[in-house]
Structures are given as C-alpha cells and as structure tokens.
C-alpha cells in the first residue's frame, strides 16, 4: 500500500483545501494517509473552528472566492474534513502549536490525535509521497 504524508502549517482556506483534496484522493486509491498539522493550522482542528477556514486573500477577495466556490458546487472545507475523517485519513495535531495558540488537548475535534516532530519524521521517512503546505 502506498503512503502519503502531508505537513500542513498554514490555516488559509487555499492550503487546507489542497491538503484535503490530496488526502481524500489518496484514500480513494486506498493509500495510507497521515496529515500532520502544525503552527497556525492547528486552530482548524479545534472544536471552535471544526474545519472552517478563512481565505488568505483578504475580506472582499476571500468573500468572492467563497461565493464562486459555492456557485460551482464545491464543498466547504468543514464538510471535506468530515469526509476525510470518515474515509480514514489520520490527522495529527502538534501539541506545542496547539498550546501556543491558547488551546488544550481537550479542545481538539474527535478522531484527531496529538503528535510532535518525531512522529512526523518517522511517517515521512516511510512515505512514498510527502507534501508540505
């Protein structure tokens, strides 16, 4: 079985969307998929945000992009995250990043685990494809 590891360090809608597309596509091909979430991206995995994103393009441009995405029938990132979890994508949140952002381990959404740099390095070393976003 092939294996994909994604390192997500940016909380923008664009990066999160790309991570979710690659993760779900890989799972659809029955690959093992690990997504390591660090830095500011950890907030996306809190119960408060639950996968909701903001565009990095600023308010008006971001609003326009979201409007266009809805018009095209593209799912929201929170819906894609739910599907990715259902499909068996394994998400790991960096505990240091979480605490830096002012959250505790109790604040992360279900089926997401805590991890650190060692876990990422081990999975990345054994992966066929590694993507950093």
């Amino acid at each position: 079985m092939s294996k994909l590891t994604i390192l997500l360090a940016n909380s923008s809608m664009e990066n999160f969307y790309h991570a979710l597309v690659l993760a779900t596509d890989a799972r659809a091909m029955r690959w093992e998929v690990f997504v390591f979430v660090t830095s500011e991206a950890v907030i996306l995995f809190t119960k408060k945000r639950n996968g909701k994103t903001k565009s990095s393009l600023g308010y008006l441009a971001g609003f326009f992009v979201k409007f266009r995405l809805r018009k095209l029938g593209v799912s929201k990132t929170e819906e894609m995250l739910r599907k990715a979890v259902e499909m068996g994508v394994k998400f790991f949140v960096d505990e240091i990043g979480l605490k830096l952002a002012g959250y505790t381990p109790d604040d992360i959404i279900d089926k997401v685990e805590l991890s650190g740099g060692v876990s990422f390095l081990q999975e990345a070393r054994e992966s066929d494809v590694v993507v950093s976003l």
């Binding site: 597309v21 779900t24 596509d25 659809a28 029955r30 029938g73 593209v74 599907k83 499909m87």
Partner: protein, 80 residues
Amino acid sequence: MSNAKTFIIDSNDVCSVTLSNIVKIWSNASINDVIVVKTSWKASVKELERWCQETNNVMENVSTENGKYVIRIRLTTPFG
C-alpha cells in the same frame, strides 16, 4: 452479472468529493456492480480513469448527457 446493481452519482462537486462518494458505494457493493457518475467537471473523466487503473476497477464508457459527462465504472475488485 444479471444481478449487478447500478448506482448513480449525479453531482457537481469536485472530483475528490465524487471519489469519496464512489468509495462509500464501493465499500458496500458487490463485484460487477456499476457506478454511473454524472458530473460537469471535465477533469473527472481522466481522474476516474486513473482511479480505476489504481484500484483495478474498469471504466467501461464515457458519454455526455445534457452538458454533463457520464462515466460508467464497473466494480471488478472487492473493496478493502
């Protein structure tokens, strides 16, 4: 093959969401069941062709209907 079921996915969502719906059907389907995908996304044709190659399923036919691509996939490999 006469007992084969046909499942239809009619969606304008991007290929990743369509793929996740295909996998959901595949996980409960039987060998020789058919999934028909109707999509407005042209790239889905190539994506699903590659998905079939990767998972050893068969893309039987591609046509167009009311401006949508109609992709017929036969499930020839058990899920899992």
